[in-house]
Symmetry: C2
Subunit: 711 residues, 2 copies
Amino acid sequence: MIVSALLTSVGINTALCVLFLTLYSILRKQPSNYEVYVPRLLVEGTSKRRSHFNFERLIPSAGWVAKAWKLSEEELYSSSGLDGVVFMRIITFSVKIFTFAGVIGIFVLLPVNCWGNQLQDFDVANFTSNSLDVFTISNINSGSKWLWVHFSAVYVVTGFICLLLFNEYKLISSRRISYFYSSKPQPHQFAILVNSIPTSSSSISDSVDSFFKELYPSSYLSHVVVRRTSKIRSLVNDANNMYKKVAQSRPDPTKEKIKQGAFSRLFHQRNNHIERYEKQLAEIEENVRLKQSEASLAGEARAAFVFFRTRFAAAAAFHLQQSVNPTQWITELAPEPHDVYWPFFSESFIRIWISKLVVVLVSIVFIILFLVPVVFVQGLTNLSQLKTLLPFLTSILTIKFVSQIVTGYLPSLILQLFLQLVPPTMEFLSTIQGYISHSDIEMSATTKVLWFTVWNVFFATAFSGSILSMASTILVPTSIPGKLAIVVPAQASFFITYVVTSGWTSVSSELFRIFPYIVNLITRLFKTPDDEFELPYMPYHKDVPRVLFFGLLGISYFFLAPLILPFVLAYFCLAYIIYKNQFMNVYAPRYETAGKFWPTVHNSMIFSLVLMHIIAVGIFALKKLSLASTLTLPLPLLTLLFNEYCRKRFLPIFVGYSAESLIKKDREDQNDPTLTEFYHNLVDAYKDPALVPIQYSSNNDSLSSPLISSA
Amino acid sequence: MIVSALLTSVGINTALCVLFLTLYSILRKQPSNYEVYVPRLLVEGTSKRRSHFNFERLIPSAGWVAKAWKLSEEELYSSSGLDGVVFMRIITFSVKIFTFAGVIGIFVLLPVNCWGNQLQDFDVANFTSNSLDVFTISNINSGSKWLWVHFSAVYVVTGFICLLLFNEYKLISSRRISYFYSSKPQPHQFAILVNSIPTSSSSISDSVDSFFKELYPSSYLSHVVVRRTSKIRSLVNDANNMYKKVAQSRPDPTKEKIKQGAFSRLFHQRNNHIERYEKQLAEIEENVRLKQSEASLAGEARAAFVFFRTRFAAAAAFHLQQSVNPTQWITELAPEPHDVYWPFFSESFIRIWISKLVVVLVSIVFIILFLVPVVFVQGLTNLSQLKTLLPFLTSILTIKFVSQIVTGYLPSLILQLFLQLVPPTMEFLSTIQGYISHSDIEMSATTKVLWFTVWNVFFATAFSGSILSMASTILVPTSIPGKLAIVVPAQASFFITYVVTSGWTSVSSELFRIFPYIVNLITRLFKTPDDEFELPYMPYHKDVPRVLFFGLLGISYFFLAPLILPFVLAYFCLAYIIYKNQFMNVYAPRYETAGKFWPTVHNSMIFSLVLMHIIAVGIFALKKLSLASTLTLPLPLLTLLFNEYCRKRFLPIFVGYSAESLIKKDREDQNDPTLTEFYHNLVDAYKDPALVPIQYSSNNDSLSSPLISSA
């Protein structure tokens, strides 16, 4: 790829970014868009729908940037919880890394690379004066002593990143502990979820009661048996939809005035509709009630939430194997009540195990099969290949501008569109894997998407999508460094473009929220203004892997092609402002895991480092500086040892709380007079929403529909 | 190797076995050998040293075989604990496997192998009519349909072994649980060991007290801080040695009569000696007392045994992370008091971690470097190679009998002698790895020795000791089945000899106890008859890996060279009788892990199965029956899944006891009046033997030396 193609791509994307930001700053001021751009403020009541027109509303402004910039970590913590803070820390952490690496890369490595003349010597045929490869390590002469600069840079940057990682892990651990200390009594701290309850002659509820009363007579409080409610859930969904239909069809006093003329002829017909709908709704309602009372009597699943008087008792019950048979009475920490994922309540050990195995298998197959579109996209970067493949395009492709767009921009755009499918798919797979909470599902989906991205974007691109070549490399571990050293630097320009197109555009379209905006535009016509709108939740499983992947790109290319660093840094700076703004205005916290996904981030960084080291080993060997290659070998080992130490030092804090903190909290509560009431409410906290009585009284319009957490 | 060489080897070893057994049956009847052959009976008082001579004593008899045969599992359990029972179950389990596999192998596979004529067709040059290879799978024609018989046999035997493994795991788990239920209150059930106690201004003892009193006010009982006693320990050792010297030098009323004449001239000189020794002993004694009182005041290590009122509280303290910082206040289950390994008391998290890493590294280096003697031994099997290497031996080697001994017997004998060094080395390495109990050290040494044996005997022999060839195979995982399929069958005859020489001889020399016998013979002259003799302990770390290795050989060669099966079966039958006899007469249980080493056995069996499957995949591919090769692929996966299930189903039972059983036991004890006294004695139970006051009063002969558990 040549410099002009890169410039085209950078130009287009900068323009797009500016366009998005400008549009955003105008659109967010329109009251009709408040639901899209400032839903949080709307719900909190700080932003009112001003209906009077104001000329100022049409002028783009940058006030939101300043506001987002000023948002302190404490404010973020109080509004979006620790998860929001930890997410932002990924970004600030990356900014620090790439500022440091960027300075080294641009002011030290880049000049050294340009100084070399390997490419001029050997590659004269293909060499064009503006090839980007001049800026990469490929341009350094074989055996050149200048490579020691790269060698030192690798060591220095690894040390710096490890230091930062350690501090960050430490800081987030301590935040997590202080979050726990400052938290009020919460139902999930006193509860565990038990599954694989053995079936006996008595009911599940009775056996749970007798089992835990026997074991923990003083600390056992009560329990709630999970019930099979999939049928009721679909009925409740039907009822909700029907209710919406009725509500929409019903004459609306505000809209009536405007639309009276147009719809007057349909009025009578609509009245008939309403009657019919209301009748149906009443039927479904009756049916739901019937099924609910049935389920309350029968339909017990082999799982239950068990409540204890103290946090310590709950934790002990979680950590110790309860039953003599380790596959029965399996305990898990209970998720927060609104975090519980009710639909797929896996009941038995063997089913959970098998579903986990199947999902892992399916995920692997999915990841591998996804190479097909990736290969196609890769074909696009190779213009001559494209011409032979699709000969009718030849005439268009000869136009310089078109060909530059096709090679420089189109591939990563198409890849990007395909990749949109991945997070939902992975979330679905995690859903059926047997996790019991939304947070666990998202966390598992995050890991899957991350693996997917690393494999299908990084490695597939590096190996030009040849599964065979990838497989043969992986199956011969010793050949990995050498192979990577050849293929990875070759794709430097693609990944620079990727950062620009995928990174910059995705983050600014995140701000612009294009899909929600369109959806809002369409539904606005059919909605009654009183309709509840749900606050959107931050899609961690989509955004965390993306942010981490740019970190991986930056780290692994840092010494190969330092030119990528400014682009990566720009991405993270953009992300810093935009995500802060989104946390402030758009996303509501759905649950609080207290930064439980940080270990994933840490592991991903360690993976990036080790990948960089492996490439370095290969590159130095390739450049015939075998001493440097050998001396790089301890680096991945040291990094892995460092990781192992961090795992021992910090990971337990992310799994459960220590006896010390649990007992301290329990003791604080002892004198709390509200605790009796809290105990009393525990049972109600974990109630399957499908079993909450519904009522859409057809006469009573003011009753809003109960909030049903749908699948 | 040809049949006659095998027969030579079998002949020699059968003769040796018979010799050992005959000698044993005579020698064990001599009262002077009771300490070697029936020390347990001697201690229990069932066997008395009959001093009157009896002619019967010189006639070999087989009565002990019948006695050993009759010993029931319950008797074994009561005399040697659950560990003894589990060890014997390894052998009975193996007998079952190899009876089943033997029937299939000898009556189905062997005729099929002989039926083939691959070797006659292709190998006429090297073919001698009595080559053992005719009985192996190598003789089957390429692409022959008869290979499906082997294919089915692999599936059937795998299924049979997995079924047995499952039943055995289940049975041992339930034995373990019922052992726990039937056990009396034992100190280690109520104790945990805490290490990495943070140092503060107050003493360790105070901070342990305040920490656990704060956390568990109702269940915390007391604690014992571990003290640094390495100096005292060496002093105590000195004192013991000195005491022995004094005791030996002192005039002995019984021996005096016999030796009076011979030694009367030395009498005066000896008296001087005694006086000097006694003076020295008194000095050391004084020194020990001084150091002991010093250590009691200072010298606290950062570790302590902490005692609780209930088993459940101790288990909860073990399972939950205690401190907010996971690298402090690390808890372990306490070992039995006499199982504690006092000398190397690792105190801090980081030291334990580093020593573990270093030991793992050293073990790996040791395992790899050990290939050198193995390579030399392998050279011996190749006669022509030996002749070029050591030309002066040519004349001797041309004698047929000598050459047959050299090729058939010597290699495995030398290997065997070298291998004697391994268990002590591995035990030493495990010792410095930071384990706190003899049982853990032995368990870890068992695993190391097992890996050592698999690598240095199985793989090194298979690859003829070429590290390069081994490394290149391992580094290219796809080539493993093909490589193994070539090299493993080629060594069939070596391993048959190995079973005969190493297996048969080692197990019968185990009975004969050659080293203890010689030691006894030498020391008997210098010992006073009242001298205490220590009961020997079963060296599990030596015998378990050996028994398992023969299982591995049998399983992996079962379909390649079924001829190995009768020899393996004979080994296990011999082992069955001999180990039963040894448990009854010789070995005392040193500690009770309640069969905690069974998971190692299970894993080893799974490894053997997967190894067999990998070889099968390679063999079928090599024999050009690729369909069978492909159809074998699911087998290792299924086996690993089965293993994973067993891990989930049974392994937790071997790690700790369930809350259900702990609480049940605690409740049983509630009304036990002796419990107060038991609590009172807990502190004394975990007392460093180096701190026990010593007294060798020079005037008082009747005081026996205190039993010091030496390293």
